[in-house]
Amino acid sequence: MKKLLCMVMVLAMVLSLCACGDTTTTDPSKTPGESQNPSSSKEPEASKDPASLPTVTLTVWGGEGEESQAFLKAAVEAFKEANKDKANFDIKIGAESESTVKDTVLADPEAAADVFYMADDQVAALVAAGAIAEVIFETDKVIEENGGQDSGSIKAASVDGKLYAFPATASNGYFMFYNKEYFSEDDVKSFEKMVEVAAAAGKKVSFQMDSGWYLYGFFNGAGLSATLNEDGKTNSCDWNATSGTYTGVQVAESILNLVASEGFTAASDADFQTGIAEGTIIAGVNGTWNAKAAEAAWGENYAATKLPTFNVNGTDVQMSSYAGYKLVAVSNYSENTNYAMALARFLTNYDNQVMRFEMVGEGPSNVQAASSEKVLADPATAALAAQGAYATVQRIGNNFWDPSQTLGTILAQGNPDNIDLQTLLDNAVEGITAPIIE
């Protein structure tokens, strides 16, 4: 009796597993709530169509924000409409942050969406893992639309001269927000002048000094570089240069000079938002993601411009920055690579880049779209585009972040222990260029 019961139980468990396995494998797109429906319920739908088109199931991941989800929904509907003669599309829209999508994809590339948005710093790792497919659809046209082979967006989306993703936006850089109530257009040309004005008003100009991403703007502006080596992992960096137009110590000195001002604060992102809402911060270097917060706080006085100059050894030097792009990639494991490519291409064409700009507020990478009047009328996007001339694509290995953050933190505190600046820079460079132990 007991044995019989055991057998029955075991059988029941095995069967139930098989049953579930079947429904999910034949139709992986189904949400669990629907999985009781037999998959055959779909067939009548397909046969209703006179041409009996194939049913193509795709998943798209985009940012979680309300606006970018709404944009995706609209664009996907347009795609279905434009291609309704080719296939019946069942396109699911998922939410995965563009900045961390790499981690989700690499956790299990096979489970990744067919098409996904990502920030451009993740291309190299995804290509190295073989997770994303090379662009084979209208490649030349895509390159041309985004300003040719040498444009930032194409470079950002390429590895070894091969294009691996469709550029979607040029929105991930940083620039200067300011409150027109306090600054004139001349004031915002120089960082020193800005902190002076802020100090006089008892307010602050913010710059997130303790982040390598921002700190790069000072050093690169002065002609000191930090880039990824050919091996794709280690870095070369000459921030501690003792010769050349400007030395590393001179740059560090001018940073310390800025930090020492009453009108300067090295605010983090959260501090920046709090500061502009409370009125204590009247200008700051940040990205488009804070444009709404700044506009809400300053209203008519809200303005943005390219980064200012800063004074190195008596000369005004234009600050540089990282230019960041959002790209749309196609998974190498997609079962419908062709349709996925077509969808990725569609999401990043002229019309949809303009639509994305209008709905989400992210500037287009498409050259023609970027120079349209509508886009130029938006202060944040225009400022980012103006800064674009001085910006470089982010190509840097992982070892850059921690040492540069340490350096930035010490500088932001005004070098409290009075460490010799050359030693400080030497240490940072040693960390940044350290070999990767595997």
Binding site: L17, C20, G21, D22, T24, T25, P28, T31, P32, G33, S35, T59, W61, G63, E64, G65, E66, Q69, A70, K73, K92, I93, G94, A95, E96, S97, E98, S99, T100, T104, A107, D108, E110, A111, A113, D269, A270, D271, Q273, T274, G275, A277, E278, T280, W289, N290, K292, A293
Partner: protein, 314 residues
């Protein structure tokens, strides 16, 4: 004579002791005062302080969830303006597809309830078998179970994911329920300790009357074990209700309607979203604690009895 002699003696002793007695009385009163008033007051001040520190984050969370400002504001403890808009918007997402709090809440609740039922049954059955039945390999199995529970669950996560993926159970709430409840029988020790305290004679009597093991379990042991059942129910409800890691690994389709509350709330803290969603995140955090609090308040009496029940075996 003796009496006469004694009386002055007593008197003198009384007189002699008169002064000291008052001082002893005073000292005693002081001691009493110290014991009954000072010490408890100090103790309670200390407790109140610890309590205060401990409650700061919770008070902050609740206060912030009622803020009218959407983003992060770290310059003040209490919000500038109060509003319940975070709560109303949490439940009326409109077209905001990545904000499906109600759906997440339902998903989590469904998973937690299913897991709760299944693993409670598992735990009680295993505990009963280990405590009340005698069979070959019982000791060995108990030892193995002991060793298995010592491995951190994280170790098996990737493998569990791979196995469920081949069967096609990732991105399914059923798969998640399976993950949470399948191994739960291993946590039988506390329940076994409780069952050990139920007199053997009761079960023997039942057996003599012709009861099967199943009947002894359902009719004799279970009715006597209310506290431990309550404890098992609470603990097996809490695990899936609060879990993040397993859910994040299993539900990786990116489709917002599949998520559990913890994944959904985590996604609200993304750099690009935190500005608009921080207050809603706090509101979501407050709401998620309500079912747990209710469960605890309702079952508190049994809960204490439950975890200490097995400890006084003897």
């Amino acid at each position: 004579m003796m009496d006469n002699k004694n009386i002055p003696n007593v008197e003198t002793t009384n007189q002699e002791n008169a002064a000291p007695e008052t001082s002893i009385g005073f000292g005693y009163k002081m001691l009493r005062f110290q014991k009954k008033i000072v010490a408890p007051t100090l103790r309670h001040i200390l407790l109140a302080l610890i309590c205060g520190f401990w409650l700061i984050p919770i008070v902050w969370l609740v206060a912030t969830s009622f803020s009218a400002y959407d983003g992060v504001n770290i310059s003040r403890f209490f919000p500038k303006e109060w509003s319940i808009s975070a709560y109303t918007r949490l439940f009326n997402p409109g077209d905001d597809t990545a904000n499906q709090y109600l759906v997440w809440f339902k998903n989590t609740f469904f998973i937690a309830i299913c897991t709760c039922v299944i693993s409670t049954v598992f735990v009680l059955c295993v505990a009963y078998a280990m405590s009340c039945m005698r069979f070959a390999g019982r000791k060995f199995m108990m030892k193995m179970a002991m060793i298995l529970t010592m491995f951190p669950g994280f170790l098996s996560m990737i493998i569990v994911y791979m196995i469920l993926k081949t069967v096609g159970l990732t991105n399914s709430h059923f798969g998640l329920i399976l993950c949470y409840s399948a191994g739960s029988g291993l946590g039988y020790l506390v329940a076994k300790g409780f069952f050990d305290t139920i007199p053997v004679s009761l079960r023997e009597a039942a057996k003599i009357e012709g009861c099967s093991e199943a009947k002894i379990f359902t009719h004799i042991v279970v009715p006597l074990s209310r506290p431990i059942i309550v404890y098992t129910v609470i603990s097996s409800f809490l695990a899936p209700w609060m879990d993040f890691v397993m859910a994040k690994i299993m539900l990786n389709s990116g489709i917002a309607t599949d998520w559990t509350v913890s994944i959904g709330l985590y996604k609200m803290l993304d750099m690009t979203r935190v500005n608009q969603y921080f207050t809603r995140f706090c509101a979501g955090g407050v709401l998620v604690s309500i079912p747990i609090s209710l469960l605890f308040i309702l079952m508190q009496k049994f809960y204490v009895e439950g975890i200490t029940g097995g400890a006084v075996k003897g």
